[in-house]
Subunit: 363 residues, 2 copies
């Protein structure tokens, strides 16, 4: 078992996101109050950081440039070498002492740029072809289901899905204290015979890794299992993950709008709304996406957390809290350890056992 870190230092890209310092600085201030052990490194332009002068447990690093939310990846990567995003991520690289200036980085900057810069600056772990983004969605059990990949990788191979399962298991163990989280492979049916050839092959790899005790593989899950909370972790390729996340956001948005419309339709409905308001507010709080803001970029030699671009101070602070928990519980070491245990010694796929699966059910 890995001992939690005594001291955690987060580095914050204060310029990222739709609202920049007007959101990130209040979030940092609130975070310092709620985390009396934490230290922060604030990165931004000198002018933007001025209001934070003299804050406790806080150092500042000045960067002269800012990656805009609509900057192409190439601009972030090649033109803006002194951007707050890049300078913040660079704080995660170990110096000559072997120690890095910070344990995890949080940014609400543009996802493509963040992923590209983080990958360029930090590099991936050996055995990891592509970093992935993991996020958590609320489920019926009152907890969260972690899902990856969410948009970084299209056209994933079976090997990539296995890597996601391994890294995701490390993430859940660090955030939820669940050392053997169940892993579901997102598919279009529960039977092992379902899905594309690549998904079936992924099923075999995951089953083999499960048999070898490297992950806790549950089997195939379907879209509705995410919100049921059937498994702690669901792996899928980035295309499917992005579609399911955005579809869910769209549906939740439509339903909220419909509830609002129905409660404002007539004077009588408005009266009902008044009576129902405390209940509706509790409901709203439960599904408040800001509570589970903060995606983890996994597979890199450094912990990078992405807050939603439209984050307000509360959402950004929640992403910081998640990054803090992950760093404190040594997510990076956990990912590294699991990669070494699994991907360095891949479980042998038992073709006979795979062939002995129950017969095909109707599609």
């Amino acid at each position: 078992m890995l001992q939690p870190l005594d001291r955690v230092r987060l580095v914050v890209d204060c310029m990222g996101g739709d609202h920049g310092p007007s959101v990130t600085l209040p979030a940092c201030r609130a975070f310092l109050d709620s985390h009396p052990q934490a230290e922060l490194v604030l990165v931004g332009t000198a002018q933007a950081l001025a209001p934070a002068a003299g804050w406790p447990r806080c150092t500042q690093v000045v960067a002269s440039e800012v990656v805009a939310m609509d900057d192409p990846v190439e601009v972030a990567l090649r033109k803006k070498r002194d951007s707050s995003m890049r300078v913040a991520i660079s704080q995660l690289k170990p110096g000559e002492s072997g120690q890095a200036a910070a344990d995890a980085c949080v940014s609400a900057g543009n996802t493509g740029a963040l992923m590209a810069v983080a990958r360029y600056v930090l590099k991936t772990f050996e055995g990891i072809d592509r970093p992935a983004i993991a996020a958590m969605l609320p489920n019926q059990q009152g907890g969260f289901t972690h899902v990856l990949d969410l948009g970084a990788n299209v056209d994933c191979t079976a090997e990539h899905l296995l890597q996601f399962a391994v890294m995701g298991s490390a993430l859940v163990s660090a955030l939820d204290g669940n050392e053997q989280p169940t892993v579901g492979l997102l598919n279009i049916g529960e039977e092992a015979i379902k899905g594309s050839e690549e998904i079936k092959r992924a099923g075999e790899l995951l089953r083999a890794a499960g048999g070898a005790g490297q992950i806790n593989f549950y089997g195939n899950v379907e879209g509705n299992d995410i919100f049921k909370g059937t498994t702690a972790l669901v792996v899928c390729d980035g295309f499917v993950g992005n579609v399911l996340l955005k579809t869910s956001e769209g549906l939740a948005g439509m339903l909220s709008q419909m509830i609002k419309q129905e409660f404002t339709r007539s004077p009588l409905s408005k009266l009902a709304a008044l009576v129902a308001l405390p209940v509706l507010n509790r409901f709203k709080a439960r599904i408040d996406h800001r509570r589970y803001s903060g995606g983890a970029l996994l597979g890199l030699r450094g912990l990078v957390f992405k807050a939603h671009g439209s984050s307000d101070a509360y959402a950004f602070e929640r992403a910081m809290a998640r990054a803090y928990d992950a760093a404190r519980n040594r997510l990076l070491d956990r990912v590294h350890q699991r990669i070494r245990n699994t991907l360095a010694a891949p479980a042998v796929v038992d073709a006979e056992a795979a062939a002995a699966e129950p017969p095909a059910k109707a599609a």
Copy 2:
């Protein structure tokens, strides 16, 4: 313009679905009352059909076997040759007179078996490699967004997605009277540069077909656009379609459960629920999935509609109503016409125009 049919005859697989005749017969009875011009052909075991003896505008065809909801495709296809499902679908085949006994078939039987039997009995249109399933999801505009494919086809090529766009456009024109429905290609970003190689190629094919006036191509859409109602039609491969449909069902289920929990949490909440009940019921009615029950199997030489396996009489009747509208508005001729216009004379993909797309945005 195609003239609507004067007389529509539906054939109903009365044995399909989780509840069989106990649901389908009351649905047929209600349908006959609400559609005074319609005629029905009821297919089922003699015993099951007995209660319907003497119904007006109704004939019966007896079948000796029933495809169970968990029968493998092979059993439905090769063993149960006198199943109600197969006999019902066979009524769509033109006889020696060139006329078929019925204009459209409705079944709540198992999807895989229905698709396989329909494909075997009816065959696909020339130019169509794979039939697809289209369904409609409610959107914020107060209307519906049609989505296909929903689970029948994994690993779709760009050509398949073009076929879905063409068939789906015919469906929307028949059901909604919208002759040039907008078509969106489901992707992970709006820019033409996004997505897998196959999706990008599909974008080129669809853009070319749009340029040639064969479809009304809008461009890429994202998951949230489905519920926004950005386009009338959204095309995607069957894997993604199945995941997004089931994810949406799961999320809607979780949110309903949470609303219920919040309104029953305390005596005060229950009081609020009492006051809010009419409003909540109106909300519930708006998102009632039974209202838009009924997926269309497209690409076959016959109109087959699939009702949800768990349909109650109301949901099954809605699926019948949809099949009736589609048959009356000559969906089959519309599909055939569009296939001839588009796929027989494919638009030339303009590689230069494709290359002149706006530059890549951040991933």
